[in-house]
Amino acid sequence: MNAKTRSRVLGWVVTLLTVAGAAFVLLPYFWMVSSSFKTQDAIFRLPLEWMPREPRWQNYPSALGRFPFGVYFFNSTVMALAVMAGNLFFGSLAAYGLAKFRFPLRELCFRAMLSTLMLPLEILLVPTFLVVRQLGLLDSYGGLIVPLAVDAFGIFLMRQYITDLPDSLIEAARLDGCTEFGIYWRIVLPNCRPALAALAVLSFRENWDQFLWPLVIISKEALKTFPLGLAQFEGFHSASYHEMMAAAAVGMIPMILLFLLFQRAFVRGLTLTGLKE
Protein backbone atom coordinates (compact mmCIF):
# COMPACT_ATOMS: atom_id res chain seq x y z
CA MET A 1 0.00 0.00 0.00
CA ASN A 2 2.70 2.41 1.05
CA ALA A 3 4.91 1.38 -1.82
CA LYS A 4 1.98 1.86 -4.17
CA THR A 5 1.40 5.48 -3.11
CA ARG A 6 5.09 6.09 -3.32
CA SER A 7 5.36 4.88 -6.86
CA ARG A 8 2.27 6.89 -7.71
CA VAL A 9 3.79 10.06 -6.35
CA LEU A 10 6.96 9.25 -8.18
CA GLY A 11 4.95 8.83 -11.36
CA TRP A 12 3.45 12.28 -10.94
CA VAL A 13 6.79 13.86 -10.27
CA VAL A 14 8.22 12.34 -13.42
CA THR A 15 5.20 13.50 -15.40
CA LEU A 16 5.59 17.01 -14.07
CA LEU A 17 9.27 17.02 -14.96
CA THR A 18 8.43 15.83 -18.45
CA VAL A 19 5.95 18.64 -18.86
CA ALA A 20 8.37 21.21 -17.47
CA GLY A 21 11.03 19.93 -19.86
CA ALA A 22 8.59 20.26 -22.73
CA ALA A 23 7.85 23.86 -21.79
CA PHE A 24 11.57 24.59 -21.72
CA VAL A 25 12.21 22.90 -25.04
CA LEU A 26 9.35 24.87 -26.54
CA LEU A 27 10.67 28.34 -25.62
CA PRO A 28 12.29 29.08 -28.99
CA TYR A 29 9.20 27.79 -30.76
CA PHE A 30 7.00 29.94 -28.61
CA TRP A 31 9.15 32.96 -29.36
CA MET A 32 8.89 32.26 -33.08
CA VAL A 33 5.10 32.11 -33.00
CA SER A 34 4.85 35.15 -30.76
CA SER A 35 7.12 37.08 -33.12
CA SER A 36 4.91 36.18 -36.03
CA PHE A 37 2.20 38.36 -34.46
CA LYS A 38 4.45 41.35 -33.77
CA THR A 39 5.65 44.27 -35.78
CA GLN A 40 9.22 44.03 -37.00
CA ASP A 41 10.03 46.82 -34.57
CA ALA A 42 8.67 44.89 -31.59
CA ILE A 43 10.78 41.83 -32.43
CA PHE A 44 13.93 43.87 -31.82
CA ARG A 45 12.70 45.48 -28.63
CA LEU A 46 14.57 44.70 -25.42
CA PRO A 47 13.83 43.33 -22.92
CA LEU A 48 12.07 40.71 -25.01
CA GLU A 49 8.31 40.87 -25.20
CA TRP A 50 6.81 37.48 -24.50
CA MET A 51 3.44 38.29 -25.92
CA PRO A 52 2.75 40.75 -28.71
CA ARG A 53 1.05 43.88 -27.34
CA GLU A 54 -1.69 43.60 -29.91
CA PRO A 55 -1.48 40.55 -32.10
CA ARG A 56 -1.13 41.46 -35.76
CA TRP A 57 -3.05 38.79 -37.58
CA GLN A 58 -2.42 40.61 -40.83
CA ASN A 59 1.22 39.41 -40.74
CA TYR A 60 -0.03 36.08 -42.00
CA PRO A 61 -1.90 37.15 -45.12
CA SER A 62 0.73 39.75 -45.94
CA ALA A 63 3.61 37.29 -45.53
CA LEU A 64 1.95 34.58 -47.56
CA GLY A 65 0.97 37.09 -50.22
CA ARG A 66 4.49 38.39 -50.62
CA PHE A 67 5.67 35.40 -52.64
CA PRO A 68 3.67 32.63 -54.34
CA PHE A 69 3.71 30.50 -51.22
CA GLY A 70 0.88 28.30 -52.49
CA VAL A 71 3.19 27.11 -55.25
CA TYR A 72 6.16 26.70 -52.89
CA PHE A 73 4.00 24.80 -50.45
CA PHE A 74 2.78 22.44 -53.13
CA ASN A 75 6.29 21.82 -54.46
CA SER A 76 7.72 21.12 -51.04
CA THR A 77 4.86 18.76 -50.23
CA VAL A 78 5.29 16.86 -53.47
CA MET A 79 9.04 16.69 -52.99
CA ALA A 80 8.95 15.65 -49.33
CA LEU A 81 6.21 13.05 -49.83
CA ALA A 82 7.83 11.51 -52.88
CA VAL A 83 11.26 11.37 -51.26
CA MET A 84 9.66 9.93 -48.14
CA ALA A 85 7.92 7.24 -50.18
CA GLY A 86 11.20 6.41 -51.89
CA ASN A 87 13.03 6.24 -48.60
CA LEU A 88 10.41 4.00 -47.01
CA PHE A 89 10.22 1.58 -49.91
CA PHE A 90 13.81 1.35 -51.10
CA GLY A 91 15.18 1.81 -47.59
CA SER A 92 13.22 -1.06 -46.10
CA LEU A 93 13.80 -3.21 -49.18
CA ALA A 94 17.56 -2.86 -49.02
CA ALA A 95 17.54 -3.10 -45.24
CA TYR A 96 15.69 -6.40 -45.39
CA GLY A 97 18.25 -7.76 -47.83
CA LEU A 98 21.10 -6.56 -45.63
CA ALA A 99 19.61 -7.77 -42.37
CA LYS A 100 18.24 -11.20 -43.17
CA PHE A 101 20.29 -12.58 -46.04
CA ARG A 102 23.86 -13.60 -46.52
CA PHE A 103 25.61 -12.88 -49.77
CA PRO A 104 29.15 -12.03 -50.76
CA LEU A 105 30.27 -8.47 -49.98
CA ARG A 106 27.15 -7.83 -47.95
CA GLU A 107 29.01 -6.03 -45.20
CA LEU A 108 30.96 -4.03 -47.73
CA CYS A 109 27.73 -2.96 -49.43
CA PHE A 110 26.36 -1.77 -46.14
CA ARG A 111 29.52 0.05 -45.09
CA ALA A 112 29.81 1.71 -48.48
CA MET A 113 26.25 2.95 -48.27
CA LEU A 114 26.80 4.20 -44.76
CA SER A 115 29.94 6.01 -45.83
CA THR A 116 27.88 8.26 -48.10
CA LEU A 117 26.65 10.03 -44.99
CA MET A 118 30.16 11.17 -44.20
CA LEU A 119 30.89 13.69 -46.93
CA PRO A 120 29.34 17.13 -46.64
CA LEU A 121 26.78 17.96 -49.32
CA GLU A 122 28.78 21.06 -50.24
CA ILE A 123 31.54 19.01 -51.72
CA LEU A 124 29.24 16.67 -53.63
CA LEU A 125 27.22 19.56 -54.97
CA VAL A 126 28.98 20.09 -58.28
CA PRO A 127 29.50 16.40 -59.22
CA THR A 128 25.89 15.55 -58.31
CA PHE A 129 24.68 18.59 -60.21
CA LEU A 130 26.52 17.34 -63.29
CA VAL A 131 24.92 13.89 -63.03
CA VAL A 132 21.48 15.43 -62.73
CA ARG A 133 22.14 17.70 -65.68
CA GLN A 134 23.28 14.70 -67.72
CA LEU A 135 19.99 13.01 -66.94
CA GLY A 136 18.14 16.11 -68.11
CA LEU A 137 16.55 16.62 -64.70
CA LEU A 138 17.56 20.23 -64.01
CA ASP A 139 14.57 22.41 -63.20
CA SER A 140 12.17 19.50 -62.72
CA TYR A 141 10.46 17.58 -59.94
CA GLY A 142 12.57 14.64 -60.99
CA GLY A 143 15.71 16.59 -60.18
CA LEU A 144 14.34 17.49 -56.78
CA ILE A 145 13.23 13.98 -55.92
CA VAL A 146 15.27 11.28 -57.64
CA PRO A 147 18.73 12.04 -56.19
CA LEU A 148 17.30 12.00 -52.66
CA ALA A 149 14.87 9.11 -53.05
CA VAL A 150 17.22 6.53 -51.54
CA ASP A 151 19.17 7.44 -48.47
CA ALA A 152 21.59 5.64 -46.17
CA PHE A 153 19.86 7.05 -43.10
CA GLY A 154 16.70 5.10 -43.93
CA ILE A 155 18.55 1.93 -44.87
CA PHE A 156 20.56 2.00 -41.66
CA LEU A 157 17.54 2.70 -39.46
CA MET A 158 15.44 -0.04 -41.06
CA ARG A 159 18.29 -2.53 -41.02
CA GLN A 160 18.76 -2.09 -37.29
CA TYR A 161 15.07 -2.62 -36.76
CA ILE A 162 14.61 -5.57 -39.08
CA THR A 163 17.53 -7.50 -37.57
CA ASP A 164 15.48 -7.62 -34.40
CA LEU A 165 12.51 -9.29 -36.07
CA PRO A 166 12.37 -13.00 -35.14
CA ASP A 167 13.59 -15.22 -37.95
CA SER A 168 10.88 -17.74 -37.17
CA LEU A 169 8.40 -15.32 -38.71
CA ILE A 170 10.21 -15.32 -42.03
CA GLU A 171 10.94 -19.01 -41.83
CA ALA A 172 7.29 -19.85 -41.32
CA ALA A 173 6.23 -17.76 -44.31
CA ARG A 174 8.85 -19.41 -46.44
CA LEU A 175 7.57 -22.87 -45.46
CA ASP A 176 4.09 -21.71 -46.42
CA GLY A 177 5.45 -21.17 -49.94
CA CYS A 178 5.48 -17.42 -49.85
CA THR A 179 7.68 -15.76 -52.51
CA GLU A 180 10.68 -13.83 -51.23
CA PHE A 181 9.16 -10.50 -52.21
CA GLY A 182 5.88 -11.69 -50.72
CA ILE A 183 7.64 -12.28 -47.40
CA TYR A 184 9.02 -8.75 -47.48
CA TRP A 185 5.70 -7.23 -48.46
CA ARG A 186 3.35 -9.24 -46.28
CA ILE A 187 5.45 -10.21 -43.29
CA VAL A 188 8.38 -7.87 -42.85
CA LEU A 189 6.79 -4.53 -43.72
CA PRO A 190 3.70 -4.87 -41.51
CA ASN A 191 5.94 -5.84 -38.61
CA CYS A 192 8.07 -2.74 -39.13
CA ARG A 193 5.31 -0.22 -38.64
CA PRO A 194 6.89 1.66 -35.74
CA ALA A 195 10.20 2.04 -37.56
CA LEU A 196 8.50 2.97 -40.83
CA ALA A 197 6.48 5.59 -38.99
CA ALA A 198 9.59 7.05 -37.40
CA LEU A 199 11.41 7.06 -40.71
CA ALA A 200 8.42 8.63 -42.45
CA VAL A 201 8.33 11.51 -39.98
CA LEU A 202 12.09 12.06 -39.97
CA SER A 203 12.44 11.78 -43.72
CA PHE A 204 9.57 14.14 -44.38
CA ARG A 205 10.98 16.67 -41.95
CA GLU A 206 14.42 16.48 -43.49
CA ASN A 207 13.20 16.92 -47.03
CA TRP A 208 10.58 19.52 -46.34
CA ASP A 209 13.47 21.63 -45.11
CA GLN A 210 15.87 20.93 -48.00
CA PHE A 211 17.54 24.16 -48.95
CA LEU A 212 20.84 23.89 -50.76
CA TRP A 213 19.88 21.21 -53.27
CA PRO A 214 16.67 22.88 -54.50
CA LEU A 215 18.48 26.20 -54.59
CA VAL A 216 21.11 24.88 -56.92
CA ILE A 217 19.03 22.84 -59.34
CA ILE A 218 15.85 24.94 -59.48
CA SER A 219 15.83 28.23 -61.35
CA LYS A 220 12.13 28.61 -62.04
CA GLU A 221 9.69 30.30 -59.76
CA ALA A 222 7.13 27.56 -60.46
CA LEU A 223 9.37 24.87 -58.97
CA LYS A 224 10.79 26.66 -55.94
CA THR A 225 10.33 25.06 -52.57
CA PHE A 226 9.12 26.46 -49.28
CA PRO A 227 12.49 27.05 -47.56
CA LEU A 228 13.69 29.01 -50.58
CA GLY A 229 10.65 31.24 -50.25
CA LEU A 230 11.31 31.64 -46.55
CA ALA A 231 14.87 32.78 -47.11
CA GLN A 232 13.67 35.43 -49.53
CA PHE A 233 12.41 37.53 -46.65
CA GLU A 234 16.03 38.32 -45.96
CA GLY A 235 17.65 40.83 -48.26
CA PHE A 236 21.13 42.25 -48.45
CA HIS A 237 20.64 44.99 -45.88
CA SER A 238 17.05 44.49 -44.87
CA ALA A 239 14.69 41.77 -43.82
CA SER A 240 11.15 41.36 -42.60
CA TYR A 241 11.45 38.88 -39.80
CA HIS A 242 7.88 39.18 -38.55
CA GLU A 243 6.62 38.00 -41.91
CA MET A 244 9.30 35.35 -42.12
CA MET A 245 8.19 33.95 -38.76
CA ALA A 246 4.57 33.93 -39.87
CA ALA A 247 5.41 32.03 -43.04
CA ALA A 248 7.64 29.66 -41.06
CA ALA A 249 4.81 28.93 -38.63
CA VAL A 250 2.53 28.01 -41.52
CA GLY A 251 5.33 25.93 -43.01
CA MET A 252 5.39 23.71 -39.94
CA ILE A 253 1.79 22.60 -40.33
CA PRO A 254 2.42 19.68 -42.70
CA MET A 255 5.09 18.29 -40.38
CA ILE A 256 2.86 18.59 -37.36
CA LEU A 257 0.01 16.86 -39.17
CA LEU A 258 2.27 14.08 -40.29
CA PHE A 259 3.61 13.64 -36.78
CA LEU A 260 0.11 13.42 -35.32
CA LEU A 261 -0.87 10.96 -38.03
CA PHE A 262 2.07 8.65 -37.45
CA GLN A 263 2.75 9.02 -33.77
CA ARG A 264 0.27 6.31 -32.82
CA ALA A 265 2.28 3.82 -34.82
CA PHE A 266 5.40 4.26 -32.76
CA VAL A 267 3.71 4.68 -29.43
CA ARG A 268 0.95 2.15 -29.56
CA GLY A 269 0.90 -0.47 -26.90
CA LEU A 270 3.69 0.24 -24.56
CA THR A 271 1.57 1.35 -21.64
CA LEU A 272 2.94 -1.71 -19.95
CA THR A 273 5.81 -0.20 -17.97
CA GLY A 274 3.45 2.31 -16.46
CA LEU A 275 0.56 -0.05 -15.74
CA LYS A 276 2.39 -2.92 -14.18
CA GLU A 277 3.62 -1.00 -11.17
Binding site: P47, K100, R102, L114, M118, V131, D164, G251, L260
Partner: protein, 311 residues
Protein backbone atom coordinates in the same frame (compact mmCIF):
# COMPACT_ATOMS: atom_id res chain seq x y z
CA UNK B 1 28.88 -10.72 -38.86
CA UNK B 2 25.82 -8.59 -38.38
CA UNK B 3 26.95 -6.08 -35.87
CA UNK B 4 25.66 -5.68 -32.41
CA UNK B 5 22.99 -8.35 -32.63
CA UNK B 6 22.57 -12.10 -32.43
CA UNK B 7 23.52 -13.54 -35.80
CA UNK B 8 20.54 -15.83 -36.16
CA UNK B 9 19.92 -15.27 -39.88
CA UNK B 10 23.28 -16.74 -40.67
CA UNK B 11 22.29 -20.14 -39.41
CA UNK B 12 19.16 -20.31 -41.50
CA UNK B 13 20.51 -21.39 -44.91
CA UNK B 14 22.84 -23.82 -43.21
CA UNK B 15 19.98 -25.53 -41.45
CA UNK B 16 18.41 -25.93 -44.86
CA UNK B 17 21.56 -27.38 -46.27
CA UNK B 18 21.32 -30.30 -43.95
CA UNK B 19 17.65 -30.86 -44.56
CA UNK B 20 17.39 -30.94 -48.33
CA UNK B 21 19.23 -32.61 -51.16
CA UNK B 22 19.03 -29.57 -53.51
CA UNK B 23 20.26 -27.40 -50.65
CA UNK B 24 23.13 -25.68 -52.48
CA UNK B 25 20.94 -24.18 -55.10
CA UNK B 26 18.51 -23.20 -52.40
CA UNK B 27 21.18 -21.40 -50.44
CA UNK B 28 22.31 -19.71 -53.59
CA UNK B 29 18.79 -18.71 -54.38
CA UNK B 30 18.56 -17.01 -51.03
CA UNK B 31 21.83 -15.25 -51.70
CA UNK B 32 20.55 -13.98 -55.02
CA UNK B 33 17.26 -12.92 -53.43
CA UNK B 34 19.10 -10.99 -50.74
CA UNK B 35 21.25 -9.29 -53.30
CA UNK B 36 18.26 -8.40 -55.44
CA UNK B 37 16.63 -6.71 -52.45
CA UNK B 38 19.67 -4.48 -52.11
CA UNK B 39 20.23 -3.93 -55.82
CA UNK B 40 17.85 -0.99 -56.45
CA UNK B 41 19.42 0.98 -53.64
CA UNK B 42 22.88 0.00 -54.79
CA UNK B 43 22.25 1.25 -58.33
CA UNK B 44 20.92 4.52 -57.00
CA UNK B 45 23.93 4.93 -54.76
CA UNK B 46 26.30 4.19 -57.61
CA UNK B 47 24.86 6.99 -59.69
CA UNK B 48 24.05 9.67 -57.13
CA UNK B 49 26.49 8.97 -54.32
CA UNK B 50 29.48 6.78 -55.17
CA UNK B 51 30.21 8.43 -58.48
CA UNK B 52 30.09 12.02 -57.11
CA UNK B 53 32.08 10.87 -54.08
CA UNK B 54 34.76 9.37 -56.29
CA UNK B 55 34.82 12.62 -58.24
CA UNK B 56 35.20 14.63 -55.07
CA UNK B 57 37.98 12.42 -53.71
CA UNK B 58 39.76 12.55 -57.05
CA UNK B 59 39.45 16.32 -57.07
CA UNK B 60 41.44 16.49 -53.84
CA UNK B 61 44.55 15.84 -55.91
CA UNK B 62 43.81 18.67 -58.32
CA UNK B 63 43.87 22.40 -58.26
CA UNK B 64 40.39 23.46 -59.29
CA UNK B 65 38.68 26.84 -59.04
CA UNK B 66 35.29 25.73 -60.41
CA UNK B 67 35.65 27.60 -63.69
CA UNK B 68 38.97 26.67 -65.30
CA UNK B 69 39.89 23.05 -65.93
CA UNK B 70 41.46 21.07 -63.05
CA UNK B 71 45.21 20.81 -62.80
CA UNK B 72 46.98 17.90 -61.11
CA UNK B 73 48.93 18.85 -57.97
CA UNK B 74 49.55 15.52 -56.30
CA UNK B 75 49.40 15.99 -52.57
CA UNK B 76 49.60 19.78 -52.91
CA UNK B 77 46.16 20.38 -51.42
CA UNK B 78 46.89 18.19 -48.43
CA UNK B 79 50.16 19.98 -47.88
CA UNK B 80 48.39 23.34 -48.04
CA UNK B 81 45.94 22.15 -45.38
CA UNK B 82 48.74 20.83 -43.22
CA UNK B 83 50.36 24.26 -43.32
CA UNK B 84 47.13 26.16 -42.70
CA UNK B 85 46.61 26.94 -38.99
CA UNK B 86 42.94 27.67 -39.69
CA UNK B 87 42.44 24.09 -40.80
CA UNK B 88 43.97 22.77 -37.60
CA UNK B 89 41.73 25.09 -35.64
CA UNK B 90 38.68 23.87 -37.58
CA UNK B 91 39.58 20.24 -36.88
CA UNK B 92 39.72 20.96 -33.16
CA UNK B 93 36.49 22.93 -33.18
CA UNK B 94 34.71 20.18 -35.08
CA UNK B 95 35.94 17.51 -32.69
CA UNK B 96 34.72 19.49 -29.69
CA UNK B 97 31.40 20.28 -31.30
CA UNK B 98 30.78 16.72 -32.47
CA UNK B 99 31.50 15.07 -29.15
CA UNK B 100 29.82 17.90 -27.25
CA UNK B 101 26.60 17.35 -29.16
CA UNK B 102 26.61 13.60 -29.73
CA UNK B 103 27.45 12.27 -26.29
CA UNK B 104 24.71 14.14 -24.39
CA UNK B 105 22.32 13.11 -27.16
CA UNK B 106 22.96 9.40 -26.55
CA UNK B 107 21.78 9.61 -22.98
CA UNK B 108 19.20 12.36 -23.14
CA UNK B 109 17.44 10.90 -26.17
CA UNK B 110 17.11 7.51 -24.51
CA UNK B 111 15.91 9.14 -21.31
CA UNK B 112 13.38 11.21 -23.18
CA UNK B 113 12.13 8.20 -25.14
CA UNK B 114 11.61 6.26 -21.91
CA UNK B 115 9.76 9.19 -20.38
CA UNK B 116 7.54 9.65 -23.39
CA UNK B 117 6.82 5.96 -23.47
CA UNK B 118 5.19 6.05 -20.06
CA UNK B 119 1.49 6.31 -19.57
CA UNK B 120 0.66 9.84 -18.52
CA UNK B 121 -2.16 12.31 -19.04
CA UNK B 122 -1.86 14.26 -22.28
CA UNK B 123 0.93 12.09 -23.57
CA UNK B 124 0.14 12.82 -27.20
CA UNK B 125 0.42 16.56 -26.67
CA UNK B 126 3.62 16.29 -24.68
CA UNK B 127 5.14 14.19 -27.41
CA UNK B 128 4.14 16.78 -29.96
CA UNK B 129 5.72 19.47 -27.82
CA UNK B 130 9.04 17.65 -27.84
CA UNK B 131 8.75 17.10 -31.57
CA UNK B 132 8.19 20.77 -32.48
CA UNK B 133 11.84 21.87 -32.20
CA UNK B 134 12.87 19.41 -34.89
CA UNK B 135 9.99 20.52 -37.09
CA UNK B 136 11.24 24.11 -37.11
CA UNK B 137 12.97 25.15 -40.29
CA UNK B 138 16.75 25.23 -40.03
CA UNK B 139 17.00 28.87 -41.12
CA UNK B 140 14.46 29.92 -38.54
CA UNK B 141 16.20 27.96 -35.81
CA UNK B 142 19.45 29.83 -36.35
CA UNK B 143 17.67 33.16 -36.49
CA UNK B 144 15.55 32.62 -33.39
CA UNK B 145 18.49 31.45 -31.32
CA UNK B 146 20.52 34.44 -32.41
CA UNK B 147 17.83 36.62 -30.88
CA UNK B 148 17.65 34.50 -27.74
CA UNK B 149 21.43 34.59 -27.25
CA UNK B 150 21.67 38.37 -27.68
CA UNK B 151 23.62 39.91 -24.77
CA UNK B 152 20.33 41.45 -23.59
CA UNK B 153 18.19 38.56 -24.85
CA UNK B 154 15.96 35.91 -23.35
CA UNK B 155 18.63 33.48 -22.20
CA UNK B 156 20.44 36.12 -20.18
CA UNK B 157 17.08 37.41 -18.95
CA UNK B 158 16.22 33.98 -17.57
CA UNK B 159 19.66 33.62 -16.01
CA UNK B 160 19.29 37.02 -14.37
CA UNK B 161 16.18 35.82 -12.53
CA UNK B 162 18.34 33.20 -10.80
CA UNK B 163 21.06 35.72 -10.14
CA UNK B 164 23.51 34.86 -12.88
CA UNK B 165 25.05 37.90 -14.52
CA UNK B 166 25.27 38.64 -18.22
CA UNK B 167 27.07 36.07 -20.37
CA UNK B 168 28.15 37.17 -23.83
CA UNK B 169 27.20 33.90 -25.44
CA UNK B 170 28.16 34.47 -29.04
CA UNK B 171 30.83 37.11 -28.62
CA UNK B 172 33.33 35.29 -26.46
CA UNK B 173 35.52 32.45 -27.55
CA UNK B 174 34.85 30.49 -24.38
CA UNK B 175 31.06 30.48 -24.73
CA UNK B 176 30.32 30.65 -28.45
CA UNK B 177 30.90 26.97 -29.15
CA UNK B 178 29.02 25.74 -26.06
CA UNK B 179 26.13 27.99 -27.11
CA UNK B 180 26.02 26.30 -30.50
CA UNK B 181 26.38 22.88 -28.90
CA UNK B 182 23.32 23.59 -26.78
CA UNK B 183 21.28 24.24 -29.92
CA UNK B 184 22.56 21.03 -31.47
CA UNK B 185 21.49 19.04 -28.43
CA UNK B 186 18.15 20.82 -28.22
CA UNK B 187 17.34 19.80 -31.77
CA UNK B 188 19.02 16.40 -31.81
CA UNK B 189 17.57 14.89 -28.64
CA UNK B 190 13.92 14.84 -29.75
CA UNK B 191 14.99 13.57 -33.15
CA UNK B 192 16.75 10.54 -31.74
CA UNK B 193 14.07 10.05 -29.13
CA UNK B 194 11.69 9.41 -32.04
CA UNK B 195 14.07 6.70 -33.23
CA UNK B 196 14.33 5.20 -29.75
CA UNK B 197 10.55 5.20 -29.40
CA UNK B 198 10.34 3.04 -32.51
CA UNK B 199 13.08 0.81 -31.12
CA UNK B 200 11.21 0.35 -27.85
CA UNK B 201 8.26 -0.94 -29.84
CA UNK B 202 10.31 -3.80 -31.15
CA UNK B 203 10.66 -5.28 -27.68
CA UNK B 204 7.98 -7.90 -27.18
CA UNK B 205 5.74 -7.04 -24.29
CA UNK B 206 5.68 -10.50 -22.77
CA UNK B 207 9.38 -10.23 -21.92
CA UNK B 208 8.52 -7.52 -19.42
CA UNK B 209 5.53 -9.42 -18.12
CA UNK B 210 7.58 -12.53 -17.57
CA UNK B 211 10.31 -10.56 -15.85
CA UNK B 212 7.79 -8.82 -13.58
CA UNK B 213 6.37 -12.16 -12.56
CA UNK B 214 9.86 -13.25 -11.65
CA UNK B 215 9.99 -10.23 -9.40
CA UNK B 216 12.28 -8.00 -11.45
CA UNK B 217 12.06 -4.32 -10.53
CA UNK B 218 11.96 -1.43 -13.07
CA UNK B 219 15.74 -1.01 -13.07
CA UNK B 220 16.38 -4.69 -13.54
CA UNK B 221 13.90 -4.85 -16.39
CA UNK B 222 15.59 -1.87 -18.01
CA UNK B 223 19.04 -3.29 -17.50
CA UNK B 224 18.36 -6.85 -18.63
CA UNK B 225 15.59 -6.45 -21.19
CA UNK B 226 15.38 -2.94 -22.61
CA UNK B 227 19.07 -2.20 -22.85
CA UNK B 228 20.24 -5.39 -24.59
CA UNK B 229 17.32 -5.44 -27.00
CA UNK B 230 17.75 -1.79 -27.82
CA UNK B 231 21.33 -2.34 -28.86
CA UNK B 232 20.77 -2.16 -32.64
CA UNK B 233 18.90 1.12 -32.18
CA UNK B 234 21.64 2.40 -29.90
CA UNK B 235 24.23 1.67 -32.52
CA UNK B 236 22.14 3.58 -35.02
CA UNK B 237 21.77 6.56 -32.70
CA UNK B 238 25.42 6.62 -31.75
CA UNK B 239 26.63 6.52 -35.33
CA UNK B 240 24.05 8.92 -36.72
CA UNK B 241 24.38 11.49 -33.95
CA UNK B 242 28.12 11.69 -34.58
CA UNK B 243 27.75 11.92 -38.33
CA UNK B 244 25.05 14.56 -38.12
CA UNK B 245 26.96 16.66 -35.61
CA UNK B 246 30.05 16.41 -37.78
CA UNK B 247 28.15 18.00 -40.64
CA UNK B 248 26.70 21.00 -38.78
CA UNK B 249 26.80 24.07 -40.94
CA UNK B 250 23.84 26.45 -40.94
CA UNK B 251 24.09 27.56 -37.33
CA UNK B 252 27.72 28.71 -37.40
CA UNK B 253 27.11 30.34 -40.78
CA UNK B 254 24.07 32.35 -39.72
CA UNK B 255 24.86 32.95 -36.08
CA UNK B 256 28.59 33.56 -35.80
CA UNK B 257 30.20 33.38 -39.26
CA UNK B 258 32.59 31.00 -37.58
CA UNK B 259 33.69 33.61 -35.05
CA UNK B 260 34.73 35.01 -32.66
CA UNK B 261 38.26 34.50 -33.88
CA UNK B 262 37.43 31.22 -35.55
CA UNK B 263 36.18 29.56 -32.37
CA UNK B 264 33.05 28.20 -34.08
CA UNK B 265 34.51 27.53 -37.50
CA UNK B 266 33.64 23.85 -37.80
CA UNK B 267 35.14 21.78 -40.57
CA UNK B 268 32.09 21.84 -42.88
CA UNK B 269 32.09 25.63 -42.63
CA UNK B 270 35.80 25.69 -43.42
CA UNK B 271 35.13 23.43 -46.41
CA UNK B 272 32.27 25.58 -47.64
CA UNK B 273 34.35 28.74 -47.39
CA UNK B 274 37.40 27.22 -49.02
CA UNK B 275 35.37 25.83 -51.90
CA UNK B 276 32.69 28.36 -52.60
CA UNK B 277 33.97 31.62 -51.14
CA UNK B 278 37.70 31.22 -51.77
CA UNK B 279 37.22 29.08 -54.90
CA UNK B 280 39.75 26.44 -53.95
CA UNK B 281 37.65 23.40 -54.70
CA UNK B 282 40.60 21.02 -54.64
CA UNK B 283 41.61 22.10 -51.17
CA UNK B 284 38.00 21.84 -50.02
CA UNK B 285 37.84 18.34 -51.46
CA UNK B 286 41.02 17.42 -49.61
CA UNK B 287 39.55 18.71 -46.35
CA UNK B 288 36.41 16.70 -47.09
CA UNK B 289 38.43 13.57 -47.65
CA UNK B 290 39.99 14.06 -44.25
CA UNK B 291 36.57 14.60 -42.69
CA UNK B 292 35.43 11.47 -44.50
CA UNK B 293 38.34 9.47 -43.16
CA UNK B 294 37.71 10.62 -39.62
CA UNK B 295 34.02 9.82 -39.83
CA UNK B 296 34.81 6.38 -41.20
CA UNK B 297 37.22 5.74 -38.37
CA UNK B 298 34.67 6.84 -35.77
CA UNK B 299 32.01 4.57 -37.23
CA UNK B 300 34.25 1.53 -37.44
CA UNK B 301 35.30 1.96 -33.83
CA UNK B 302 31.68 2.24 -32.76
CA UNK B 303 30.69 -0.90 -34.64
CA UNK B 304 33.57 -2.75 -33.01
CA UNK B 305 32.86 -1.50 -29.54
CA UNK B 306 29.19 -2.28 -29.65
CA UNK B 307 29.79 -5.75 -30.98
CA UNK B 308 32.24 -6.45 -28.20
CA UNK B 309 29.80 -5.02 -25.66
CA UNK B 310 27.31 -7.62 -26.76
CA UNK B 311 29.65 -10.56 -26.38
Amino acid sequence: MSNGLPSVPVSLPQARTAARPFSLTYANRLRVAGFLFVLPALLHFALFKFYPMAQALLLSFFRYDLTSSPEFTGLGNYRALYENPLFHQALGVSAKYTLGVAIPEWFLALGLALLLNRAMPGRGLIRLAYFLPIAMSQIVVALVWKFLYHPHGLVNGLLATVGIGRINWLSEEATALPALIAIGVWRGVPLFAVVYLAGLQAIPRDYYEAASMDGAGPWQRFRWITLPLLRPTMLFVMVMSLLMAMKVFTNPLVMTEGGPNGSTRVLPYFIYETGFAFFRMGEAAAASSILFGLALLFTLVQFRLLRRGLA
